[in-house]
């Protein structure tokens, strides 16, 4: 639990709990690498909220583009946020939307990190000996 505070202090709430759980299976080196990469890829809930709010001012769906949901984003733009219903629903759930995205990224990254930096390797990035 202390490692999450050391490597990713900016996380809180569900995201912090979830990533701390992932850390249990990671070595220190893996956790450090994970944190470095994860920080680049994770999305911020406040930005999701801000981009979703813009939907009331004219351009709906920006928050969907932010999450990488291109199809949904285009749909929102062309239909005024699905007649505003989409925008309103997303506004209530902006934290969960962001967390869904981050959780998926964290899962993939945890797997990647464990494959790329097997425990006990001195030189990360090189293939394990033999095989």
């Amino acid at each position: 639990m202390a490692r999450i505070l050391r490597y990713l202090p900016e996380l809180d709430g569900d995201e912090q709990i979830y990533v701390a759980q992932l850390f249990k299976d990671l070595t220190d080196e893996q956790a450090e690498y994970f944190s470095h990469v994860y920080r680049q890829h994770r999305k911020e809930a406040n930005i999701t909220l801000a981009t979703a709010l813009v939907g009331f001012l004219g351009i709906a769906g920006l928050h969907r583009f932010y999450m990488g949901h291109v199809g949904m984003g285009l749909l929102y733009i062309l239909t005024a946020g699905l007649c505003f219903i989409g925008t309103i629903v997303d506004l209530f759930r902006y934290r969960d939307l962001t967390f869904q995205y981050n959780r998926r990224k964290a899962d993939d990254l945890a797997v990647l990190v464990q494959q790329a930096l097997p425990p006990g390797e001195d030189k990360p990035g090189e293939l394990p000996p033999g095989e």
């Binding site: 949904m72 749909l75 239909t79 699905l82 007649c83 969960d96 869904q100």
Partner: protein, 105 residues
């Protein structure tokens, strides 16, 4: 069976909201006099909204009235496809989470 229930519980509320919306549209008669005016722009007598008519168009689609649907709003079919894709994705995420939860036990 227990795992199916877990997947259903793990699935994001968003999936059920979209399913609910599609269900309501499927059950609505788009040619009837409108009972509900829930669109804020409609209530403000705004006529230039690009999404106007989408709900009715989707309702037409569910009734097989493809031409009526396209006339009401040309993007009804893409809308349903994209929403369905989103719903499936959300269930897929929940399934993946459930399977990995099971593995770690």
């Amino acid at each position: 069976m227990a795992r199916v229930l877990t997947v259903l519980r793990q699935t994001s509320l968003e999936a059920y909201l979209w399913m609910g919306a599609l269900l309501v549209l499927a059950l609505t008669d788009p040619s009837a006099e409108r009972l509900l005016r829930i669109c804020p722009l409609d209530l403000l007598d705004v006529s230039w909204c690009p999404g106007c008519g989408l709900g009715r168009a989707i309702a037409h689609l569910f009734r097989g009235e493809v031409l009526l649907s396209f006339h009401m709003h040309p993007l009804a079919l893409p809308a349903v496809v994209i929403l369905s894709g989103r719903i499936v994705r959300l269930f897929a995420d929940a399934t993946q989470r459930t399977l990995s939860l099971n593995q770690s036990r």
